[in-house]
Structures are given as C-alpha cells and as structure tokens.
C-alpha cells in the first residue's frame, strides 16, 4: 500500500444557477498532486462553469471547495492566484505591446531594495529579467536572445509558451490550462503538449480543459468527464479508448461505476 494521497483540490457538490438554468448541479471534483487531469464534456455540459468556480471566476451558490483540505472561498481569480493557483487562459491574457519579462511579472512586479523600492516604487528590472530568462530556460523555451522582445512579435506557439511559463513559474498548487492547443497548428500543438509534460515533470498538478481528444489522451493521467452539470465519470486515460470516452461523454455508454483515483487516494 502506497502512502495516502489527498487531493490538492477537492470540490464537493458545487451548485451554480443562472436564473432557471442550472449550470452546475452538485458537481464534484478532485485533483491529486502531480497529476494531469483532463476535463472533457460536451458544449453546455457546464465544465467551464465548474473550472471557473475552482479559480474564482465564478462564485458557486452552494458547495464546498477544499484546497489542501482547507475550505476556501474565491471571489476573483486574483484570490485564487494568491493561493498558488495559476490559470492559462484560452486568450492567454498577455499584453502584446509589453515585453516577455514585463508580461511575466504583470501585476506582481518586483521592487528594488531600500529607499528606491519603498519610496520611489522603483522596479527591479534586472532581477525580473533574470528570473524570466531562468524560467524560460528551465522549460526549454530558450534560445531567446532578447527577453525584452515584445510579445506581439512572437508566434502563437511562442506566446503560449510564455503564458505557460508564467503560470508554471508562480503556481504553488496547480495550473489550470484552458484549451491550450486550440489556436495552434499541429506542430506548435506538439511543442505545447511537451511543455505541459515538462511542467508536470516538475511536480506540478495540471487541470487541462480540452476538446481535442488525441491531445487529452496523450498527456492526461485521468479524465474527468462532465455531463449535464455534474461529474459523470472519472476514467484512467490508459484504460479506456477514445471512442468509449466520447460515448460516455455524450451519454451513449454507461459510465464505469467507480471513480478512478490514484493508488492510496483518500478524500478529505
């Protein structure tokens, strides 16, 4: 028997209603340390509402969210970020006219020491650039010549790389990635999938939202299948075929009775 493994994030019976529409109907969710959990579901299944409620973008009407066993109430994505949860948005949330280094530290800048930093709020550009260069190098994104390069001069894949590097650099709990390959070509997608594995290899848990089944099956350890506003099934990516997963997702196939969990997993 392996050591007990408790979820880094556990959500119990989340509910969210918009008027008479129930977007989340007692949805459960578990993410374990170091894993890549894919979240799939048909359009309108409510997966987006659920994931948003995990990172503060949506405030659930009811239910409980436990971060490392502690109840948390996020009201904005900034609350979640302060607790070590980083999000890579589908539109990346980068500022095109700012440099790579500026973007990495946007909203959490480093200050110079002493009077310059305290009184004059002077940025420590040198330290920020060095940090940015280190982080991009760690993830193999660097043959960068110029960390001052403006983000708008980067290709789609490079921008995705910067967004992922930013999330990986600052996350302490886990990273949520929303459709990271949706806007990319086949070749760039491949590079980003490798990047996701790299981030995982550094011990970080990842929630991957994707419509792309081959990509999901390539990188995910477990797959959370969302249907009709709740968790319909959780399966292990290497124990199910792609077509069965899609069949479960659309309701054509009965889901397995058991929720797949890593060995030794216990709930809070």
């Amino acid at each position: 028997m392996a050591e007990t493994l408790t979820p880094v994030l556990q959500a119990n019976k989340l509910v969210k209603r918009y008027g008479r529409v129930t977007a989340m109907d007692h949805a459960d969710f578990e993410l374990y340390p170091g894993e890549i959990l894919a979240v799939i579901g048909d359009n309108g299944a409510g997966k987006s509402t659920m994931v948003k409620s995990l990172c503060g973008a949506v405030v659930p009407d009811d239910g409980q969210i436990l971060l490392d066993g502690q109840p948390v109430h996020f009201t904005t994505p900034i609350d979640a970020r302060d607790k070590g949860i980083e999000i890579v948005y589908q539109n990346l949330a980068l500022s095109p006219a700012l440099s790579i280094a500026d973007n990495l530290f946007l909203g959490r800048e480093l200050f110079r020491g002493g009077l310059l930093g305290k009184t004059f709020r002077m940025l420590d550009k040198k330290r920020m650039k060095a940090f940015a260069r280190d982080k991009l190098t760690e993830l193999g994104l660097l043959t960068i010549q110029n960390i001052d390069q403006l983000v708008e001069t980067l290709s789609g894949g490079q921008r995705q790389g910067v967004a992922v590097a930013r999330a990986a650099a600052f996350a302490t709990k886990f990273v949520i990635m929303d459709e990271p390959t949706a806007a990319l070509g086949v070749k760039e997608s491949r590079r980003v999938l490798d990047l996701i594995k790299d981030v995982q290899a550094r011990g970080m848990a990842i929630v991957l939202i994707s419509h792309n089944m081959p990509h999901v099956f390539e990188v995910a350890d477990r797959i959370h299948i969302h249907r009709l506003g709740k968790r319909h099934a959780v399966v292990r990516a290497d124990e199910i075929s792609m077509s069965d997963a899609v069949a479960i997702m659309t309701g054509a196939l009965e889901p397995p009775a058991e929720i797949a969990r890593p060995e030794g997993a216990t709930l809070h």
Binding site: P33, Y89, Q145, Q158, V186
Partner: protein
C-alpha cells in the same frame, strides 16, 4: 488498480505515436525558439522603428531644425530658441496629461478647458477675493483634479467612450469657466499687485544668452518625472497594459478601473499645473485663452509617436512632438511663409505620424 498517476506519469506505457502525427517525427522542433530571420531592408527598418517608437520624431526634429536653420536667418539665435521653448511649455505640460490618457487608449478633449477653468479659479480667488496665493493655487489644483476625476468616473463607471465623455465635459468646463469668470479677464497689473506668486513660472532665467522661464524647467521636470513613473514603476507598466489590452490586464490581476481613474485624476491635476504655468506665460488670466490647447496637445502626442489605439508610445516622444510643432511654426514664420501654411504643415505632420503608426502596428513576427 495499479498506480499510473505518479508525479511524473512514471510507469505508464509510452503511447504510440498517432498516425496523423507520424509526419511530425522528423520535423523541426524549434518552433518555440526565438531567432531573427533574414529580413528585407524595409522590414528591418519597420522592426527598428517598431521597437523604438520615438526614433521617427527624433529624426524629424533634427532634420527640421537643420532645414529651418539653413533657410531662415534668425532661426539659430538664442532669442528664437528660447522663444520656441517658451511657446512649447504649456502645450508640453498638457501633452504629459494627454499622453497618459492616450496610452490607456483614451483621449481627452477637455485638457485645455480644465486648464483655463483652474487658472480662472486661481486668479479670481487670489486677486478678486484676496485669498493668499498659495491657497488659491492649491484650490486650483483641486479643481483640476476634480475635473479629471469626473472624466475618469464617467469613463470607468458609466463605461462611456472617453471621446464622448470629454467632448461633453469640454463644453461643461468651458461654460463653468465663463460663468465663474463672468467672462472677465484678470489684468496683469492686478495680479502683480495682489498675487505675484501666480506669475512665478513666467520668471526668466538667463543661461548663456538663452532666456529660459521657470515654466520651461517645470515642463522638463514633469517630463522627467512621468518618464520615470511610466517606465520604472508598476503603475506605469499597468497604464501601458490597460491601454494595450484591458481584458488581459484585468486577468493578470491589474485593477483596470483604478488605473484608468488614476490616469484621469492625475491628468486633471497636470492641467491645473499647466494653468499656473500659463498665468506666468501669458501674464493675465483670460477665460477665452488656449481654446486651441485641447487639439494642440493631441497633436504633440500623435506627432510624438504615441498610438491612438493605446499601449504604445513614449512620453519623451510627446516632448519631441511639441518641439517639432514649435520648430515648424517658428521656422515657417521666420522664412516669411504665411501663417496659414503653418497650420497646413502641422496637419500634414499629424497625418504622416498616424500613417507611420499604422504601418508599424502591422509589424510581422
């Protein structure tokens, strides 16, 4: 069940490459690398200018100074150079305010109206009501900041376009200014007699035959201060980020409305500083003065290379832009060209500046 979800995904069988991916096996894997490709000359120029948006105005300024120096006899005299700088002072300070607002993808048509209202308040309180000059000036500053705050709140809370908001407040502030001043100017002698401090920024300082005013140094100080704030503080980076892509800035944890409001309040405050300097420059307070100041400040910002779409440009560009306008007006004047051609030239400069901006925005990766 076996453990197949360890931290590194260890122990899971390596997945076979999908059919459709087989062609990729031998393909280049350096898509996420950063390198400079060979570029044509035009593309290289485009890139250099894109990375240094102030370069175009600097070149234009140098060329225009050289050209006018060659064709107009009295151009390079200390008197003329001093005069250009004095003439640029007020528009320069308004240009600082305008730059902040244009960087956030806004525009402020009311800067000169705020300035004149503030100067009327300062003059009237100090001269007509006998309030000590420092207190009158501080109240004038407060009026400027309040006007800016009204603009800022209308933009952030009611989500109205800045163009419409400031078009409206331009009229409103101008009407308030006529009402409060009763359309009366305050004479220079009266200011000298009761509140000479109001004219402090008109004091002349001789340096090597050049006659600078304290107002010119005030302008240079404000450009230096806001260059620092924009480039070396988080607030400055956030101003750029908000102007660039407000949604992305918000997702990055920047309080967008707070940044926008701060920009309009500081802009209004700068207009009130310009009001104090304007009293020194003109000597009197006239509710009808500087009506062209709104558009002149925008001209300086645009010729200085700031993008009207926000997020791009530098404050030093605005200083250069204001100087270019000053140099053109002075040079054409000294060359004996009719005044109407000055306006013609400034108009041409604006269109060229915006065309260059559009071209640079299309820069390819």
């Amino acid at each position: 069940m076996t453990d197949q979800s360890g931290p590194n995904g260890e122990g899971r069988p390596k997945r076979e490459m999908q059919d459709f991916e087989k062609v990729l096996d031998q393909s280049a894997t350096d898509v996420a690398s950063f390198h400079n490709r060979d570029r044509t000359l035009v593309a290289s120029v485009q890139h250099i200018l894109h990375a240094n948006p102030t370069l175009v105005p600097v070149i234009v300024l140098i060329v225009s100074v050289l050209v006018f120096g060659a064709i107009a006899n009295n151009f390079f005299t200390p008197f003329n150079i001093s005069l250009i700088i004095q003439q640029v002072t007020i528009i320069g300070i308004l240009g600082v305010a305008q730059t902040l607002i244009i960087l956030t993808a806004g525009i402020d048509l009311s800067v000169a109206a705020i300035m004149v209202l503030s100067s009327v308040v300062m003059g009237k309180l100090a001269v007509n009501f006998g309030i000590p000059a420092p207190i009158a000036i501080i109240i004038g500053f407060a009026v400027g900041a309040l006007c800016g705050a009204i603009n800022g709140l209308l933009v952030t809370r009611l989500r109205l376009p800045p163009f419409i908001v400031t078009l409206g407040t331009w009229s409103i502030f101008f009407a308030l200014n006529l009402w409060y001043s009763e359309s009366q100017s305050i004479r220079s002698q009266d200011i000298d007699a009761t509140a000479p401090m109001l004219k402090w920024f008109g004091e002349r300082i001789d340096i090597l035959g050049f006659q600078f005013t304290t107002g010119s140094f005030l302008m240079l100080f404000l450009f230096a201060l806001f260059w620092y704030l924009l480039n070396w503080t988080p607030w400055g980076r956030h101003v750029y980020a908000v102007g660039d892509d407000a949604e992305a800035a918000g997702l990055s944890g920047i309080r967008v409305n707070r940044v926008l409001t701060s920009v309009y309040v500081i802009g209004g405050f700068l207009c009130a500083i310009a009001a104090w300097a304007a009293i020194g420059r003109v000597g009197s307070v006239s509710p009808q003065s500087f009506q062209e100041g709104n558009l002149d400040s925008i001209t300086a910002v645009v010729i200085g290379g700031c993008s009207l779409f926000g997020g791009r440009g530098s404050i030093i560009g605005t200083l250069i832009g204001a100087l270019i306008v000053g140099v053109f007006r002075s040079g054409l004047n000294l060359s004996g060209v009719d005044v109407l051609w000055q306006d013609f030239a400034v108009g041409l400069l604006i269109i060229i500046a915006v065309a260059i901006d559009q071209w640079l925005r299309k820069v390819s990766a």
